[in-house]
Amino acid sequence: MSRKQRFLIVVVGLALPALFSIWAPALMNDYLVRVVTVMCINALLVISMGLANGFTGVFSLGHVGFVAVGAYVSGVLSLSDANKASYLPDLPVWIAAIHLGFLPSTIVAGLVCVVLAFLVGAPLMRLSGHFVSVATLGFLIIVNVVLVNSDAYTRGARTFTGVPLQTTLPWAMAWLLLAVVTLARIIYSPKGRAWRAVREDTIAAQALGIDVLPTRLSAFVIGSFFAGVGGSLYGHYLGSFSPASFYFAYTFSLISMLVIGGMRSLTGAVVGVIVVSLLSELLRNLERGFDFGIVSVPPLYGGSQIVLGVIFILIMIFRPSGVMGDLELSLGRIAALLHRGRKETNT
């Protein structure tokens, strides 16, 4: 493939989802648009989680902590003045005076998470294996406790509400595409190779002159930026949320998407989100009971969670490294597939 062809394919690959996201509201009803929007936000969160968890081998359970920070930071910044006065009367004046639009507040949320990730990561990224999981879990708990107790900024445990509903499908899709392109560029660059080297064998990596701490820290920090952005998107999608929305339940649902799809592949992360989201939506509608004419099934609420759990177990038994493993859907692979297909039809 020539350079020009390659460029063309990338442009088309980006333009198609972008156009789809703009035209979607005309093609499907609002419910489906919302499902796709949530999928985009979750995909953004899962691929950024995979950066540390999958590619660098730092299995962090604190990702949702950054999502929470992103949601609250952007929420406080973009709340309208009237809502600020009624919901957050004790907000310090200098913060109350700031009012940002959706995009700037989202970027600020991401940057706050970068700073936070740096502070948290500098000590924690020295740890490996299970230790880092437990330590980052501690971070998630700290974030939750701080959110619940800083009444003046977050309304404490009460629902933070009144956030303008500005996360539309094009916004979510745009951020997702930006994240995919950025992360793909980094992961398959020398930097990304260093990440994977650290994951496979720290001692061998050090022998090659790779400094482990900065390498891990960079993955953690970049992932946290997109976690903050995703948090802002999620907050502006729901409009009202509480610290409890960003806790264990959400953590485990993101992790299951990551593991199902394949931790060591960007494509896998996206596939995981699509598979889990579509299955749970489908099952959620099916558990209301249905009528085939021949067989009719009564409503079985909660059945969807059971079926979903069984499917997860089966996937983990038969494909322990996730649906995609460490394979990517790359241009080279598509070309190879097409080539092989042609050869098969020839013979």
């Binding site: 009803n29 609002d30 419910y31 919302r34 499902v35 949530v38 619940v148 107790n149 404490g156 445990a157 009460r158 629902t159 509400t161 009144g162 509903l165 999608y237 729901l238 409009g239 009202s240 949320f241 509480s242 610290p243 409890a244 929305s245 339940a249 939506e281 489908l282 959620r284 509608n285 099916l286 558990e287 209301r288 249905f290 009528d291 085939f292 409503p299 609420y301 909660g302 969670q305």
Partner: protein, 395 residues
């Protein structure tokens, strides 16, 4: 494509999905001669012990209305979804109800957080929503003109609780414990404090815990070490915590009356708390028993016949009343137009429900109702008092 084993498995999955989705769409096409009422409830998850009874009550009333000929000559159909106590699912379901099922009106939930996650979507679409059991009096103001409560607000039940503590239990000093992680419990504690102090009582010690905590040792130790002994313990708790709280307090030797809100109105209080639940009092919407008011008794028997179990709590009756309230509004509106139904709802005066009469006076969308105080004696619930509070904290 060669038919390898893997491909066969893939095809089977695809075929399954195709069949599933086709059945799904055929479901949607059916039944145009009914009046649809959206009914999202958290049948699974943390809220299930209160939402499931509410849904069962709602289904019972819908069946009774249909057996009696329906509304406007049509049968009513509850479009039920389990929203799994998950805000994302709640938001998706809200838009599914509006855009796919096209319901003109909906009812559901017993928790403020759930209602807030759905509220804005209904408000934007101008579709009225009535909650049977989310008791935050701030909801109508937070969400907007389409939001109605079929139950009293937390400020009313907290005031009733405060008056009961002061007048009947003779409690002048109270220990206040709250779950500081949910809207309902923080508001309830705040309203109680305001009403109780207004009535002349004194909160001697206040403490917090987190929803889902399994050990309350820290709070109990602090309370036992405190020099002033409180007369009464007021605990603002969610349904899934209260059994454990009560049990651990009694084990630590704290035998004072424990008082709380309608979060206690769950079978978990007796099943988890056991003997420890004696001397517990809570404010709720109605007393569910065979020796209650005639309306409740009739409901009690019908519920038992339909579900093989007595009504678990007052939320069952609230679900029942909410369907009646909505059906009544549709009848008075004479149409299934959302705007007309909303106006008819807002004009409701003296709808006779089994949990009390519902009126929305002076543009308020929170009804004035009396509060039932229920006590536990000999491992059984009894109706301790019916209270109409004299002073109520501002929402």
């Amino acid at each position: 494509m060669k038919l390898t084993r893997r491909n066969v498995a893939g095809l089977a999955v695809m075929a399954g999905l195709a069949i599933a989705s086709s059945s799904f769409s055929s479901r949607l096409a059916a039944a145009d001669d009914t009046i649809k009422i959206g009914a999202p409830f958290n049948v699974t998850g943390a809220q299930s012990s209160v939402d499931s009874p509410a849904l069962n009550g709602a289904k019972l009333k819908a069946k009774e209305i249909n057996d009696a000929g329906g509304v406007l000559g049509k049968k009513i159909e509850l479009v039920i979804y389990d929203t799994k106590t998950d805000p994302t699912v709640i938001a998706s379901t809200a838009s599914q109800l509006i855009n796919q099922d096209k319901v003109p009106v909906a009812l559901g939930f017993t928790d403020s957080d759930a209602v807030l996650a759905l509220g804005t979507i209904f408000q934007t679409a101008n579709v009225p929503f009535v909650t049977p059991g989310a008791t935050s009096p701030k909801l109508p103001e937070q969400v907007g003109s389409q939001m109605f409560l079929a139950c009293f607000g937390d400020n009313v039940q907290a005031a009733a609780g405060a008056e009961y503590v002061l007048n009947k239990l003779g409690g002048k000093r109270v220990y206040l414990l709250r779950d500081n992680t949910t809207e309902y419990t923080t508001l309830l504690a705040r309203y109680f404090k305001e009403a109780y102090e207004h009535g002349g009582g004194k909160i001697v010690l206040a403490d917090d815990y987190k929803h889902g905590d399994t050990s309350f040792t820290a709070q109990i130790t602090k309370l036992k070490a405190f020099p002033t002994k409180p007369d009464v313990l007021y605990v603002a708790a969610q349904p899934d915590d209260i059994g454990v709280v009560v049990k651990q307090m009694r084990q630590a030797g704290l035998m004072q009356p424990i008082v709380g809100g309608d979060g206690y109105d769950t079978p978990l209080l007796l099943s988890v708390g056991g003997k420890a639940a004696n001397n517990v009092y809570f404010s709720t919407h109605a007393f569910m028993a065979e020796d209650s008011t005639p309306g409740i008794v009739k409901f009690y028997q019908a519920y038992k016949a339909a579900y093989n179990t007595p009504p678990e709590n007052a939320f069952a009756a609230l679900g029942y009343d909410t369907v009646g309230l909505v059906a009544d509004a549709i009848t008075r509106a004479g149409t299934t137009d959302s705007a007309k139904i909303r106006d008819a709802l807002a004009a409701t005066q003296g709808y006779k429900g089994i949990t009390g009469s519902i009126s929305y006076s002076q543009g308020s969308r929170v009804p004035d109702k009396t509060v039932s105080i229920i006590g536990v004696k000999d491992d059984k619930l009894f109706l301790a008092a019916e209270v109409t509070p004299t002073w109520i904290a501002k929402p």
